[in-house]
Structure formats: C-alpha cells, structure tokens
C-alpha cells in the first residue's frame, strides 16, 4: 500500500452473489465467506491479493451481538488486514461501497473487498429494533416503526403528486415478475395489479405486496485501483460518481418537512452526477437499481435520480419504460421487492448495476446497451441516502 495525494480512478473488478432466502441454515460468517469467495473467484484473485476489507451491516441489534462483525472478518479473508465496518441502516447497502471506493481512491489500498450482509430471520422482532432507532424522548414512545413511518411517507407522496395505489402496485408487478428469472431471488412471482391491491394493508396505503420480504443474505464486490484493473480487465467498470445526503435526525428539525419528497436523496444523486459529469440523467443513465423496500420508495428514488419528472414515476413504470425491454429499465433483478431484502445486503443494487454493464446479468440482462448505471440506498431513520454511478469507458 502506498499513500498519495492524487485521487485515483477506481474500478470494480467483480461482484459476489448468493441466493437470498428466509431462514438460511448457514451462519452469517458462512454467508460472508460465500460471497467473498464468489467475488474473488470471478476476479481471478485470491484472498491474499486483497489489501483491505470494508464490511457493512445495518445495525448490531439485528445480529444480537455487539460488534458482531468482529467474528465475521475471517469469512472475508480480512484477518491481519485493514478492516472496518460501516452501519447506516438501509443505506449501508450503498454507503458501504462508497466507503470502499474512498479507501482505494485515497491511495491507502489497491484492492479492497467490500462485503455487506444481514441475517434478518434471526431477529425475532425487527420492528421493535426499529422503534429503538427513534429518539427516546419524543418519537419512540409514539410507537413509530418502519411500516407506520412508511405509511406516513407514502401518504404524503401520493397526496403531493396525485398518485394512485394502482401506480404503486405496478411497481410490485414489475419487480416480482422480474425476479422470476433471477437465480438469486427469494420471491420471483407473476402477479397482477389486482392481487397487489387486494393484499392486506400493513399501514395505509402500503400493502403486504407493496413490501419487500424478510431475507437473509450477503453481497460482495472487489474494488481496485486503475493500475490493477487495467491488468486484469480489458473492459473495466469504473466508479464514476458517489454521492450521499442526510437530513436531520429530529422530525421537527428536518429540512425536508414534506415526507413526500426526499430532498436528501436528490442531494445524493446531484453529488454523484456532478462527480460523474452527468447533466441529463434520463438520457445518460441507461439502467438503474433504486432502493425499493416498498413500491412507493422505488418511485421516489426514480424521481430523485432524475430518470423521469417529479411525481411521474408511476406513469413511467405503468407505460413500461422501466421494464426489462423498456427505454430505461429499472430493477430488472426484481429489486428488494422481488430478490429479497437482507438490509445491508441490499448492496445487490450495486452488484446488479455492475452485472448489467458487464453483460453478465443472465436472464435479467436488459435489451438496451448499458454503459452507465445508477443505484441508491436509503436508510438511517428515513433520512440517509447513498447514490453510486458505475460506468465503462466512453
């Protein structure tokens, strides 16, 4: 390793995948090992080639062990190497890759293995955990948790832009349908808008089929400096842009008073696009994997990414533009809704962008050429965003 003042170009050599499922028999270290080995095998590397490891998982209480990652690092081959772990709840999925990017871009390492994981089915009461994220004085006693807050957000979003529940349902139909051909998906299924609309509400207007499932799994990716990647890959995928945005913890103090518009997500996308030199994302981004734990959340992120006009994501999806054979395909993997949602391992959004650019997405490969792809992560207590833009040389 060598330190330098110059900002280095950073590429992604490979990704590590495994099927998501509920209640996997393997323990978390085995999940970490599986995806780490898969990523290294795809890159033609051995673990000794890795300079540093960065891991991510949402929050410790999901795992029931304080600093749980310290017992998993061996699974990523990180023993004796620079290692730390990021934890920003759902946005961990994309903020952790941005951290891995920084370690390489800084010159402090040439090859970094990034691993995100979560075993949600070990958790007996994840909503209680989520309730404890809120401040203990004002919001926690109200009983807020993820479904309740998502209901509030979705209501605000639908009201602000005049969006229907049918538009939300169309996202679920698309994503669960897309997941049918994804070999790593937990919930591939052909469904109809009517089925979604008839599924039970969990927090109006969000229904069960608007919601991603409980999942276990992990994802990995190998980040490398330009000098390394040029030797190993004749068609490199580069990290072209990273951006993050975060609003206040305090509800009453948020800049984003209207829960229907994710100002912090617009900020994350703006910063990533500025770094990537992208001025017209609807034209220059060819594929997207926005974070979609709920249907309306994919819609909000499509808009924050500038892939359609504000409030227009529902029509964008209903008109088929986001389909696998559409003008600007979105979540052809099935997203969190169809592939599954092991929170930190939502890093799969990042991995699928890479697979699409490399033309290695199998039956999920979209029809159009993909040179540039964008993904988002969303977390904190609904106020963190991370955006990454990947792309090949022009």
């Amino acid at each position: 390793m060598s330190a330098t003042n110059g900002v280095r170009r950073v590429g992604v050599l490979s990704v590590g995948m495994m099927p998501f499922a509920r209640a996997l028999a393997e323990d978390t270290q085995e999940l970490v090992y599986r995806v780490s080995k898969d990523a290294l095998d795809r890159a033609g590397l051995r673990r000794d080639d890795v300079d540093a490891v960065v891991m991510g998982s949402a929050v410790d209480p999901f795992n029931g062990t304080n600093e749980s990652d310290k017992f998993l690092v061996a699974g990523a081959g990180g023993v004796g190497k620079p290692y730390y772990r990021n934890a920003t709840s759902g946005s961990t999925a994309v903020s952790t890759p941005s951290l891995a990017y920084e370690v390489v871009a800084s010159g402090l390492a040439d090859i970094v293995l990034c691993v995100c994981y979560e075993k949600m089915s070990d958790n007996e009461n994840s909503q209680k955990v989520f309730n404890y994220v809120y401040d203990p004085g004002f919001v926690r006693p109200v009983g807020l948790n993820v479904p309740i807050q998502c209901g509030l957000e979705a209501r605000a979003y639908l009201h602000r832009y005049g969006i229907s529940e049918e538009e939300m349902a169309a996202v679920s139909v698309k994503n669960l349908g897309n997941a049918v051909v994804n070999p790593y998906a937990q919930r591939g299924r052909e469904i109809t808008v009517e089925e979604v609309l008839e599924s039970p509400y969990i927090s109006w207007p969000v229904k069960i089929l608007d919601t991603s499932p409980v999942s276990d799994g992990a994802r990995a990716a190998v980040f490398a400096s330009e000098s390394v990647i040029r030797d190993l890959d004749d068609d490199p995928v580069w990290v072209r842009g990273i951006g993050r945005g975060a609003d206040s913890y305090w509800y009453m103090g948020r800049r984003n008073k209207d829960l229907g518009r994710l100002d912090y997500a617009y900020l994350g996308a703006k910063l990533a696009y500025e770094m990537a030199g992208i001025e017209k994302p609807a034209e220059e981004v060819h594929y997207a994997e926005p974070y979609d734990p709920f249907t309306y959340k994919e819609m909000q992120h499509i808009e924050a990414l500038g892939l359609c006009e504000e409030g227009g994501a529902g029509r964008f999806v209903q008109e088929g533009k986001a389909n696998r054979d559409g003008d600007l395909p979105v979540n052809s993997s099935g997203g969190l809704l169809g592939e599954g949602n092991p929170i930190g391992a939502g890093m799969s959004r990042f991995n699928w962008c890479w697979l699409q650019i490399k033309g290695q997405a199998g039956d999920c490969q979209v029809e159009r050429d993909v040179d540039t792809a964008a993904c988002t992560g969303w977390g904190g207590m609904y106020q963190y965003n991370a955006t990454v833009v990947l792309g090949r040389d022009a």
Binding site: M1, A3, T4, N5, V7, A58, V59, D60, P61, F62, G64, T65, N66, E67, D69, K70, F71, V73, A74, V79, G80, K81, P82, Y83, Y84, R85, N86, A87, T88, S89, S91, S95, L99, E102, V103, A105, S106, G107, L108, F130, Y132, V133, D135, P136, R244, G245, A246, D247, S248, Y249, W250, G253, R255, D263, L267, L271, G379, G380, M381, A386
Partner: protein, 369 residues
Amino acid sequence: MTGVSIAGVGVAEPAEDERPSHAELLYRATRAALDDAGIEREAITTAVTSSYDYVEGRPLSNQFTLDSIGGVMKPCDLRLGDDGLHALAAGVSAALAEPGAVVVVASVQLRRSEHSEEARRVVQEISYEPVWLRPVIAGARNPEALSFGLRAQRYMAEHGVSEDDLASLVSRRSGLGSSAARSAEQILDSAVVAGPLRELHVAPPTDVAAALIVSTDPPSGKARGAIRGIGWSAVEGMLGLRDLGEDEATAAAARRAYEQAGIADPADQVDRVEAYNVYGIDELQAVEALGIASAGGAIDAVRGKGSPVVNPTGAQQSAGWARGPASLAGTARALGEMADGNGGGTLVSQGWTGCGGCSSAVAVIEVAA
C-alpha cells in the same frame, strides 16, 4: 506522508453538576474543533463518526450526530462501529478521495448510557461470539476484562512480569489524573475480576466527546499537525484462534502507519505515544506492538522518562474510559500538550476495539510546534 492535516480539534466534558445529552456534548466538541480550525460549520463537507449501538442502547446510534456536527443535508452519514481512530482512518480516506474536503471525525460517549453495572455487564457479555465464547463467559462480573485477563496471564507468564509490576504501572498512570488515582496496594487489594486483573486495574468510565477536523487543505491555512501515517487492522475475534501474548492487531496497524510515515525505528523517531490502557496490560502489549520496546521489554520502557514518552498524562487510567471517543480525545489533548510551548514532535496514537481488542488503529502525527 498521507498529505492530510488536522485542522482543528475539540474535546468536551460535562461539568460535575450537569448532565448534557450526547447531542449537546458532541456539539460542544465540534464547536471547539471549528473554533480551533478557524472555520464555521458551513465549511464542513463530510463526516465519519464512531458509535456502538448496544452501548448506546439504541440502533443506528450515530443519527443525532448530524445535527451536532453541522452535517444536515450533507454527506455526513457514515458511521463505523469501531474505535474513534478507525473513524479517523476513514476520515483520512475521505479527505484523500476528495482533496480540499473538510472532514469531521467525531465520537461521543456518556457513562450513563450504560445505565447500570448490570447493563454494562450484559453489553460486554453479548460482545462475545454467541455459540462458543458467550456460554463460557456467561455470568461473569466483567466479561470484557476476561479477555484482557487472558491476555495478561499469557503475557505475564511469558515475560516474567509480576502482578506488582502491573499494579505499579496502573497506579502511576492513574496518579496522573485528579480523581482516578489508585495506589498499587489499593489495586492489589481490590477484588479479582479476571485474574490477574482486579477491579481497580480497570479504567473508570467517563463522559467525553471529541472531534477532529481533517483536510488535505486546512481552510484557514493553519494545522494542528500532519497525519504522516494511518494504519488499521483486525485479527480473529475468536479468542482461541489468536496468540493472546501479543497485540497482533496493533502490530499490523503500526507497520502500515510507519511505512507511510517513513518511520523505520519508532523507538528513536517517535516522541510521544498515546496507547490505550483500559486494563494496563493493553498498554504493555501495545507499546511492544508499536515497536517502542522489544517483546517483554515494555514494563521497563514505560518506566523510563526518556523518549518516546508513553502516556505521560495517564491516558484512560487517569482521564477515564469512554468507548469510541477516548482515542480521539487522547489524540486531541496530546496535540495541544505537545504544541503548547513544547516544540511539537512525532505523536503515535493507538486505540483498540472488538473482543479482546481484536481490531486496532494507529496514527502517526507530526505535531506542529
């Protein structure tokens, strides 16, 4: 050289008769760091914080920091579940990845987060791997001390260090603080918590917030110091799979930091060491891992008053132990003490985290006079 400077530092501790919130205390530390750097919060570009969910009693325990550090509507979300110096390593990466960015590295910890001895005990207990280790230590009075007790047993047996030696070291360090002083006799008379470690070997908990502002281009043009090297490393968390007689994580972190800093002979080239000494044994093993003393030679090295001086103000044994910010606070204080009329010099700062200190970070800082 990394090319990253420390533009400002801030440390905040509550007055004896007040009980500030985490947010308030971190605000004070950040405000002090901004003042030290000669900038306002609008200049902050990004941030990395360190916090521990179980210690705080809440998941995603860094969220309030955005407001305290001036990070609202900025990319200030990154949070490591590691020691403050690990966050500094991430902050250095962020600064190098975006030259000119103004990066806040911060952490805060209040002893009342742990609420009670029992809560602290449970948090420490669930810091062990659940299948093999946790059942073994279940019910222990001070579970974390067990892993350091094992380290102490192995090290002391291997190098002939006596319980008197360790108690004398802890006593000397604690005597450098106003309220935490314990004599060697008091330490040796206190109850055994994890033989050979006794109750009074353990640094007392404290409340502190610390913030460091780092950048490749300090906005005001002045810098507290230059980060010549930063290293961090993890070893196996499972106690049975590593050599407890030495601090391999710190040794690996130090190798990387020294390589960047161009330090070949740390005993000769370093002026001051700030090493974690929550249990006393961690200081001895760290001093050797940092290359200040040879294997088994730390007890003599830390007695001396020559250079490099180790923990001259007592570190956690005198200032108290706050998981997360302690290493940042120690670094910030050392920067001030070395600069204020003392000519600056080369500071090595070290901190650990994880089961039995399985992960460590080391910073080499050239302190401005």
